[in-house]
Symmetry: C2
Subunit: 332 residues, 2 copies
């Protein structure tokens, strides 16, 4: 695919342009910390609270940046996206703000809160059966019929540049705190967020280790790092992390991540739940399972924080109340 | 009491001094909002997320400011405080940061999380029976025996000035957003937070309405506004809002609040729970019952937000996981 050629990769300049565009509409999410978590990790642990982003996840950033790039004459025909939830909400909200109709193809078993919110942002939701139907085909059919532009969830330079504004803010906020990040841990599904964050952080802190966090059974990035080339995992494993179920890195995202990722960390559902409980108790933040894998990576000690300044991205907070309540009342 | 004489009331200059002192140690908590809550209220609703403050509530601000005022030669003898929980944690943490021993007198039936956290911050906790023992007497006895300085929960100019930094940040953050607050709703127990916020907000926005939010059965400020003088309520009513059970306004706090409060709003436990659920879903914030009364005041429509810019303070997030889980799974 030509679009994965290095010349097409998003650059730091693309991230700055996205940051300028997003300035008035996105939340500059805070970098939060707590004495309890610092003590637990033996270092300084800074949590980038993207749960406080519009639509409850970082996905709004990439969607808004990408939709802004659609020529005005094409926007009236709308956008189409397929997503298990957070990208859906991000695209729906961004499209509404930019006056553009949106159709979102979502799995019928996506968390109810994500489907409801997507509709609430004004998008048309088309559901499909995850086991028997192909969402790409459904999306392509809608695009062909309506002339809508497909907004990919991660494998798009405009989307990656938007997500990269998370990284620019991390750099700026660390500078404001007078600290240098030793390592940044970021959840990955298709790898768009971590690719964008990598570009920003590596530009200012070339020695900072960028670590990808993934759920058990969906460790395609971690396997790809070991193999030195993109690896697809066998999908179908059960995971609580509905947001992180992509079976392989994207082409463009991997072209970035292959150069920037230092290591991967893989966490179990039980470890994710423990991290969600710690975020509740120590940070007063609602973090969804997929949003908590990076935090779990360090709280388990699988990535050591001893004596280091670690930034983790808490990437989303869209979790069904009943599921969250059940996790809160379990014990470690 | 001489200390309630107008000449002793905290001034805007005291708040600025507190802000300078707190700058390096307190969290500048964000002002968050969501399209869903804006839509529900028909205006712009900005939530000052003090749940993200150190120790999970605004109380850290006043405690740190007050303890900083203790002469160095007296700090070694420590501080003593009585509190149902959030003031306890604020004093414990502030004292630890300032290298000062702390003894906290807490009711035996305070939320377990608040007792545990207070001990975790390094303080000695002494419990008492809320029905048969007098916490003031216990605190006074400890102070007399050890020479420790009593840090009052609200009726102290240094404490009020510290809490007032919440108001200074609201003014600055509204300016950054380009909006003028029409009304600010603040929870009250003894009234220290709202007194401090009043001083800041009224200095810059004299027409802004300051509204006090209280739980059913503990509406002493609302009754005091109606009576034009401080009124004590009959304590003992059941409430979910363990943080807001003071039976009457403080002397110093009322000397401020009598001049600044425009109205009161009183909410039920059911309304508080609904507000906590909305904060979970829309803001991804964990808000404790007492911290949610101001949000409940506007979400119920008891205070109208139609066409207005409203700021509400979400003052604390220290809630037991099992209680929170139960509230999440109830339906409105």
């Amino acid at each position: 695919m030509n679009s994965s050629a290095p010349s097409d990769l998003p650059t730091l300049a693309d991230l700055w342009a996205a940051a300028e565009l997003l300035g008035p509409v996105a939340v500059r999410t805070p970098l939060v910390e707590s004495p309890g978590l610092n003590e637990q990790t033996g270092g300084r642990l800074l949590v980038k609270a993207e749960v406080l982003q519009r639509t409850g996840s970082f996905k709004f950033r990439g969607a808004y940046n990408r939709i802004s790039q659609i020529p005005l004459e094409d926007r009236g025909r709308g956008v189409v996206a397929f997503s298990s939830g957070n990208h859906a909400q991000g695209v729906a909200r961004a499209a509404a703000l930019l006056g553009c109709p949106a159709t979102i193809v979502m799995p019928a078993d996506a968390p109810a809160i994500k489907i409801r919110n997507t509709q609430g942002y004004g998008a048309t939701v088309v559901t499909y059966d995850r086991l028997t139907e192909n969402r790409e085909a459904i999306g392509a059919k809608i695009a062909a019929e309506t002339g809508a532009t497909l907004v990919k969830p991660y494998d798009d330079p405009g989307v990656i540049a938007g997500q990269g504004t998370v990284g620019l803010e991390i750099v700026q906020q660390c500078r404001d705190l007078g600290v240098t990040p030793d390592q940044v841990i970021v959840p990955a599904s298709g790898g768009g967020l971590i690719a964008g964050v990598s570009i920003a952080v590596k530009a200012f802190h070339p020695d900072c280790r960028i670590i990808v966090a993934e759920p058990d059974g969906y460790d395609d990035h971690t396997q790809s790092i070991a193999a030195g080339k993109p690896v697809s995992i066998n999908p179908g494993a059960a995971t609580l992390c509905d947001a992180l179920m992509a079976p392989s890195p994207g082409e463009i995202t991997w072209a970035v991540n292959a150069r920037t990722l230092a290591a991967g960390v893989v966490v179990t559902d039980a470890e994710v739940k423990a991290a969600m409980r710690r975020a509740f108790l120590e940070l007063k933040l609602v973090v969804e399972p997929g949003g908590a894998v990076a935090l779990a990576g360090i709280l388990t000690g699988k990535v050591t924080g001893w004596g280091k300044t670690t930034v983790v991205v808490a990437s989303g907070g869209n979790v069904d109340p009943v599921l969250f309540a059940g996790i809160l009342t379990e014990t470690d």
